[in-house]
Amino acid sequence: MYRIALKMLMGDRGKYLGLIMGLTFAALLVTQQSSIFTGLMTRTYSFINDLSQPDIWVMDPKVQYIDDIKPLQDTELFRVRGVHGVEWAVPLYKGLLKARLQDGNFQIVNVLGLDDATLIGGPPQMIEGDLSDLRRQDAIIVNDVGAATRLAKRPKEGGGKATPLQVGDVLEINDRRAVVVGISKVSRTFQSQPVIYTTYSRAMNFAPRERKLLSFVLVKASDGLNSKELAQRIRQNTGLAAYTAQEFKDLTYDYYMNNTGIPINFGIAVMLGFLIGTAIAGQTFYNFTLENLRYFGTLKAMGTTNGVLLKMILVQALVVGLLGFGLGVGAAALFGFLMSDSELAFRLIPEILFLAAGAISLIVVLSALVSIRKVMKLEPAIVFKG
């Protein structure tokens, strides 16, 4: 009987394709928008991800997220180093500074000042040059995307193609000379500013004069010591905020979730996809059932039980649901793959597949319910009504 159900479904090509299209569209929209949302939210803490070495981030207690810099006094570094269980603690400067390009234009850049001695906190991958080149005079390392886009050298005459910033090129950061000694690859950040690495002491020179300039203290826990325990100890001993990397990511993520319109905007898009998908699939499935009511009535008259008819409709719904889900998720994945070299934030994680599967299942169940109700209440005597 299930084969009959499928033949009935696929026999009406127009409605069959319409159903699959509706569900594919819904799955595509839900998956694509959720992936972009996830990609965007991942970018909010991508910088924390890139710094894999420290176990704990120490900062001003008022800091709400990674880019919310509330500088500390340099002496806080020594207080943290004095906490029992700290294997090492290094300073990190992070700040938005103005860079003057060779053509005279200015560009806001995200400057990271690494501990002069250890260079802990450097980029996860070097494309050109070496991290240790930062020890050279006026040295900076620029991320590849920033070098190729916002920091690229524009032709003096209008038009023409911009040339990516290269090793050996010179910038001015806050009127200080900065020489590119390397090109790195970093994860894209939420603000998409070019990322410039330099030493902590050089960053102090680049930054405007202030009493406090230390952004974070990066801490490694001693072997065998639980990071959460150590973070708690640092908080108690110094009065500063101390988070494990995961806690700091969560803090940043929560800030963007609670204080920006991003979740609502993407939520609306996902909900629209869901509603439109439900409307298209529901109406098409209902029309399909209505047009086949005579045949369902015939089957009922000939001895098919309501239970079997219910299963037949569920099989039909399941098949279009699976096809729509597969095609929609496949199209979203293809979209993500094709856009992988663009600035688009797209991150398709397994949880999104479950979300899309849940959404499509719900659409299919809602659509099928209307049809099931109609067929269950169908009087077999309808078959003699012409």
Partner: protein, 235 residues
């Protein structure tokens, strides 16, 4: 078998359709016996209750009062599930509009009653081919209904009604959508293949061209049987 060996035994059967305040009596006390081996035609003007009567007999509509036994079984006393199972085993249906599922081949359409009875697909299709051959459509097993003429579609429908060897076949206007020759051919097939001493046929029809195929003709009007005409079938 029912009382006195009748396939169908009806006494004082009534049925009234109720829709809001309006009440439309469709059957006003029907008494009727149909013995096995008989081809009975129900005739009469539109709205006289013919279709309601075969719906009651076929167990797809509940009557209000009276006794209705089919092969001795009181369908009204059965649960919904038991009645559905009874129909599946004992009743064959032929419809005016054929009601063949358009996406299934003729062979698959004919096999449906056997699949409902949980026969294997292979067995059902084998039996379906045999019955299609019996109605002269052995070469059309793989044809879709849209590729068949009206007469051929009705013969497929007859094959579907007979494939599970039911004891009662009910037909609603089986020839009204067909021209005279085709209608006659369909009736010949129906009478030749469907009628046996163990099986009764009840045909609702307006088509006086086929009256001579009946063993007995029952005329209805306004929910009542007004005349029973014994007739010797002369197809």
């Amino acid at each position: 078998m029912g009382p006195d060996g009748n396939a169908v035994y009806l006494r004082g059967v009534t049925k009234t359709y109720v829709s809001g305040p309006s009440r439309v009596p469709a059957l006003r006390g029907i008494d009727l016996d149909v013995p096995a081996g008989e081809l009975l035609m129900l005739v009469g003007p539109s709205g006289c209750g013919k279709t309601t009567l075969i719906s009651v007999v076929a167990g797809i509509l509940d009557h209000d009062e009276g006794d209705s036994l089919v092969f001795g079984n009181d369908l009204r006393a059965m649960s919904q599930g038991q009645r559905t199972a009874f129909r599946g085993t004992n009743i064959g249906f032929v419809f005016q509009a054929y009601n063949l599922i358009p996406s299934l081949t003729a062979g698959e359409n004919v096999a449906v009653p056997l699949l409902i009875l949980k026969h294997s697909r292979k067995d059902a299709l084998t039996r379906s081919r045999e019955v299609l051959e019996a109605v002269g459509l052995g070469e059309k097993v793989s044809a879709l209904p849209t590729a068949l003429s009206g007469g051929q579609q009705q013969r497929v429908a007859i094959a579907r009604a007979l494939v599970h060897d039911p004891r009662l076949v009910v037909c609603d206007e089986p020839t009204s959508a067909l021209d005279a020759d085709t209608g006659r051919m369909v009736m010949e097939v129906l009478r030749r293949t469907a009628l046996s001493e163990n099986r009764a046929l009840i045909i609702v029809t307006h088509d006086n061209r086929i009256f001579n195929f009946a063993d007995r003709i029952v005329r209805m009007d306004d929910g009542r049987i007004i005349l029973v005409e014994p007739q010797v079938a002369t197809p």
